[in-house]
Amino acid sequence: MTWRLWAIPLGLLVVTAAGAALTLQTFDHPTHQGLFPRCASCHVGISDTVQSRWPTASDCAACHDGVVEDTVTYEPPAAAPPSNLKFTHPAHIAAVQVESRDSTVTCEACHSDSDSLRMTVTRRAVDRCLECHGIAVEHLAAAPEECAACHYALAETGLTLAQVGDFPTPPSHEADAFALQGHGAEARPAGATYAVASSCATCHARDFCLQCHVDAPEQQPIQALASDARSLAIAVTLDAPDSHQDSQFYRAHGSMAEDRPQTCQACHTQESCLECHASRPRVLLAMYPAGPDRGTGAIVTRSRPETHGEDYSLMHADQAGSAPTTCAACHTRTQCLECHRPDPSSDGRGFHPAGYLSRHPVSAYNRETACADCHNTNQFCASCHVDAGVVASGPLDGGYHDAKQFFALGHGQTARQNLENCVACHAERDCLRCHSAVGGRRFNPHGPDFDAARLRQKNPQMCTACHGVAIPGG
């Protein structure tokens, strides 16, 4: 019994395979070349719009009745797939007959090669279209205005999203400069009498342009296109042009924008400028504000310029000093003052690293940067040292500098090297105790290059702190 159980499904498989072999997937025209004198014998409706241009299953069964010939399974196409072709057989046949009265334009003229056997047909007729209509270039390289001869604009078709997405890319679109420079001239060449080239409208609608164009309302070719969301099936990305890759672009783009604002308008909104610009540059008014009928345009992300490296905070002074307007383009005074006039409640993060309070003596002694650019020595350093108890509150023998036994006697070198650090804990009176020429021990603090005359000329009052009214040379 076992083999019988297997025989049933195997038999069904064989029968199914045999039946499939007799199912007509495509009609074998050459095999039937001796049977049908005319194409219209089967394609009855080819020249009118009432009858179908496809034969019916019963037409096949006239011969394939199982007696004369084996039966076949055939179903005519339910409907032609959506197309953007203006071409229809009845209209074309009528036009040929009426307009040119060219009796040579037969079915074979389009559907067969001249040297092929009768009824050796092909459905592809694009080359023949171009040939007859005098277009001497490849299909996708046709002139912008010639597409409309055969094609409807996208918005006038019933094409599916998938069909739109599968549109082939014309060779002109492959050029490097096409996206950023060439396509505008192709959409409406100089001197053109039409608003937008049919070559654009065939595949694109306004929605497609709005993926990039901020200036869409001002661009006549874009406005001439109908709105159709299916055009978004053709994906496009807005890449920055080569000019934007230049390391100095961030410095030069302002004058470029002032010289040719219309170039920037295409991709940049006012908002994209303000993404970086803290101030409102004059050329901003030449840009369009973002709006519902405009493209998103370039998405600008504020980022550090290449010149602003890891340690830029330590070396920005020269650039900020020599070109403050450059800084002001992206930075507000508030940002500068966050460090240069720090908030006492802030933990100081941003400029100083973590744990800086513990490490600050080494920076204070040897001044990696000028502390006094941001911190008033009296208000910030001295007041904190006073409250922390680490100040000279009287005589110099307080004992803080206990690692050097005779520090008070030999402190001169340290003081000359690190005087800014000394004054964070020591008041002037501490030094005058010994260095004053009036009430002190007359230790001269002036070095060999001391220009007494110059200082006396600038501010003699400073001299009186040590010398009283008897200023030497005064």
């Binding site: 929605d207 869409a216 978004l232 390391s247 100095q248 030069a252 006012q270 303000l274 409102r280 405009r294 493209g295 345009g297 998405i299 290449e306 490296g309 340690d311 002074a317 020269d318 900020a320 000093g321 020599s322 508030t334 240069h340 006039r341 908030d343 006492p344 409640s345 802030s346 513990s358 003596p361 080494v362 920076s363 002694y365 040897n366 001044r367 000028a370 006094a372 650019d373 007041s383 409250d387 680490v390 307080g398 500098h401 690692a403 005779f406 030999g410 001169g412 340290t414 090297q417 690190n418 030094c431 070095g447 290059d449 001391f450 220009d451 110059r454 200082l455 600038k458 009052q461 040590c466």
Partner: protein
């Protein structure tokens, strides 16, 4: 809470409410405002000077004099007592600030605008330990500005920023932009503020030592000119500050700074600040930079000499400058990874004051090696730094890990270990620290940040004066941004792909 504290809190609430109310400007009027509120809690231990009778000291562990309970003391012949520093009381500070900044335009005259920034400060503990928290109200800037095509002017409380530093004053500034804005010429003048401070030079808050101080605010006067082009930026500044009571100079300085870009990616920058009052160079530097997306390098020279104002006696003490060779290198070998190396070696000029009693180094160096790696939503950073010079040194490593799940949220943790010896005091501090931080921001709307740090620091000494300097710091900051300008509105998409027309 102190009265000032209550005022500061109330002001913060009112400022926030005003921002939330979002005043509607009239057509053509505009404003941009920002309110920053910050609070920090800090506990730390200070020092306390103490003394014992000279006849009560005993030999300490190292052989020197010490108190009977082990504190090393300093005694001087002829003085009947010996002094020493011991651990002081724990200080607790809770500084709180509210800073409101606003700029308004469209005031009826084309080109006219007003700008103001004010800071309210208090310490919730009622103490004054934390620097800068007094006075309670500090005006940062407040001026009216007028700008046309080639002319700009401001009048009011202004902070002038240039190579001579950030100088605040109450006065007038005028600037002319000529030759298509390539040439800038300007001048300013008024009553000055103290150096690096929002307070006038005669403010009692600037005199913690109760020493010499000017009685009146000083005049400040300055001129500047600059040339900006694609290849060259050049500026020159002059500034003098004069005592109003005596007409004596407080400071007189000039600076020249430049950035030259001879070829793409290469720039030379330099700056010289000359102290005209003392006829010598103060700060100076020159650097050659080369930058590219993957590598950035710089080598340079730096000259540093502190510049004191002439109302202090320090200008007569003839400080010596140091000269430094600097270099830095930054490499991004592959996406997400950045390596950096920075170094500086310096040497002080001859100070003409050698002392056989105290030997002090006259040179030093500092370096930092760092690496950071960004992988998806994580950002890892590692670094080692060392800084050695006369007076103090520091060396150690640090690490951080940040998690950035979105543009709005960020959570990070950091920590490190440092050794920090002092040269003039027996102190071999060892610091271990760790901190966590979380921040949330709505771009162009608000930003909130909260942070906690713990510092475990031992100040090691061979005597009883070694004490822990552990600290716990908590801080929180919130900033609100508001503007009538288009920038504060979310960027509306014209048509996003797939949208229905």
């Amino acid at each position: 809470m102190t009265h000032v504290g209550r005022v500061a809190v109330a002001a913060s609430i009112l400022a926030g409410a005003a921002l939330l109310a979002r005043p509607t400007p009239l057509p053509s009027q505009g404003y941009r405002a920002r309110v920053d509120v910050g609070i920090q809690s800090v506990r730390y231990r200070g020092w306390q000077l103490d003394s014992v009778p000279a006849n009560s000291v005993v030999p300490g562990p190292g052989g020197g004099p010490a108190t009977t309970d082990g504190f090393a003391v300093t005694c001087h012949q002829g003085i009947p007592w010996c002094s020493y520093y011991t651990a002081g009381p724990v200080r607790h500070a809770v500084p709180f600030s509210t800073t409101a900044t606003a700029t308004m335009w469209g005031l009826g005259v084309n080109g006219l605008r007003a700008h103001g920034s004010i800071r309210l400060l208090t310490d919730f503990t009622g103490n004054t330990y934390w620097p800068g928290t007094e006075p309670a109200v500090q005006l940062i800037e407040l001026y009216a500005g007028y700008q046309r095509d080639w002319f700009a002017g401001r009048a009011g409380r202004i902070i002038e920023a240039n190579q001579l530093g950030y100088a605040g004053y109450d006065g007038v500034e005028m600037t002319a932009h000529l030759l298509r804005r390539r040439l800038t010429v300007g001048g300013y003048g008024g009553l000055g503020l103290a150096r690096a401070s929002l307070l006038p030079i005669n403010s009692p808050e600037l005199n913690p030592f109760n020493q010499f101080q000017l009685q009146d605010r000083q005049w400040i006067l300055g001129f500047d000119a600059g040339w900006n082009s694609r290849m060259l930026d050049l500026s020159a500044e002059y500034q003098r500050q004069v005592d109003r009571a005596t007409d004596y100079f407080i400071a007189e300085r000039a600076a020249v700074s430049t950035v030259i870009r001879p070829v793409d990616r290469v720039s030379l920058q330099g700056n010289v600040v000359y102290d005209l009052a003392q006829d010598r160079v103060g700060m100076a530097d020159a650097t050659v930079n080369w930058t590219s997306p993957l590598v950035s390098a710089a080598v340079g020279y730096r000259h540093y000499r502190p510049m004191f104002q002439l109302w202090e006696i320090w200008a007569a003490f003839n400080t010596v400058p140091y000269n430094a060779a600097t270099g830095s290198l930054w490499i991004g070998p592959w996406k997400g990874l950045r390596l950096s190396l920075r170094g500086e070696a310096y040497r002080y000029d001859d100070n003409s004051l050698p002392s056989p009693l105290v030997t002090v180094d006259d040179e030093g160096w500092r370096t930092r090696v760092g690496a950071s790696y960004r992988y998806r939503q994580f950002d890892l950073g590692l670094g080692y730094s060392a800084d050695t010079g006369p007076g103090a040194a520091s060396s150690g490593w640090d690490a951080s890990l940040a998690y950035l799940p979105s543009e709005r949220w960020q959570v990070s943790a950091s920590g490190g270990h440092f050794n920090r010896p002092l040269e003039y005091r027996f102190d071999e501090s060892v610091l271990n620290y760790a901190g966590v931080e979380a921040s949330y921001q709505v771009p162009q709307r608000m930003r909130f940040r909260i942070r906690a740090d713990y510092y475990d620091e031992d100040r090691n000494r061979p005597d009883a004066a070694a004490f822990s300097w552990d600290q716990t710091r908590l801080s929180a900051e919130v900033s609100f941004y508001l503007s009538s300008a288009v920038k504060t509105r979310p960027l509306p998409p014209g048509r996003m792909p797939g949208a229905t027309p």
